[in-house]
Amino acid sequence: MSTTKKMMYINRNAPHGTVYALEGLEVVLAGAAFEQDVSMAFLGDGVFQIMQGQDTSDSDMKNFSPAYRALGDYGVTKLYVEEESLQQRGLTVDDLMPLVWEDEDDDYEEKPSIQVVPRSGLSQIISEQDVLFNF
């Protein structure tokens, strides 16, 4: 009866220095209960959000990076990372957390959620969305 919409959350801010990254992640996790077609895109400094090895033990900040691992369980299985943004920052996909989702149609096999896409491809994916959020 209800229409499923393609909703994309675009993340362009680095984690910790400002609250955008944490807020964006919390909105996605909260909204996942509504069974829409949700995906996330990481552009610009947003790619830093899913970098491996974040350790806040020397600062008084909350390390929310492990929460990205829950996205697969919440049905958010498409995490697009812009290739150019990685290159500009001297990063490769190996510097990112190995985020996966379990495909219940394929014997719960773990599959990577992260898709590295060039800007031209991501632009196309963005144009296909029904609703866009920026954080």
Binding site: H16, G17, G44, Q88
Partner: protein, 100 residues
């Protein structure tokens, strides 16, 4: 003078401006998101290396660790400093300019 830069060099021109304004007697401290400029292999590495030839650059250890930037990924020449060291730097410089 001591300068602090708290924004990533990819999202703001704060670091680029700061390095242009800082003199050879000045000290530049990368804090918060500013520490992303300390990473090797990025587009901003050349600008940082050029500055290191004539200026002292520091980066806050806790901020690097929080963001997952390991020691071996830090540009050679940038000195990692803790909060105690940061306090010493501020105390030993007559003025502070925070590039927000």
């Amino acid at each position: 003078m001591l300068h602090t830069v708290n924004k990533s060099p990819f999202s703001s021109d704060s670091l680029s401006l700061c390095l242009d304004y800082a003199s050879e007697q000045d000290v530049v401290v990368l804090i918060e998101d500013g520490v992303y400029a300390a990473m090797k292999g990025s587009n901003s590495e050349a600008m940082v290396l050029e500055s290191l030839a004539s200026k002292k650059l520091f980066a806050i250890g806790a901020d690097l660790k929080t963001r997952g930037i390991a020691e071996e990924k830090i540009i050679d020449g940038i000195q990692v400093v803790g909060y105690d060291g940061f306090v010493d730097l501020v105390a030993n410089n007559d003025k502070v300019q925070s590039w927000l």
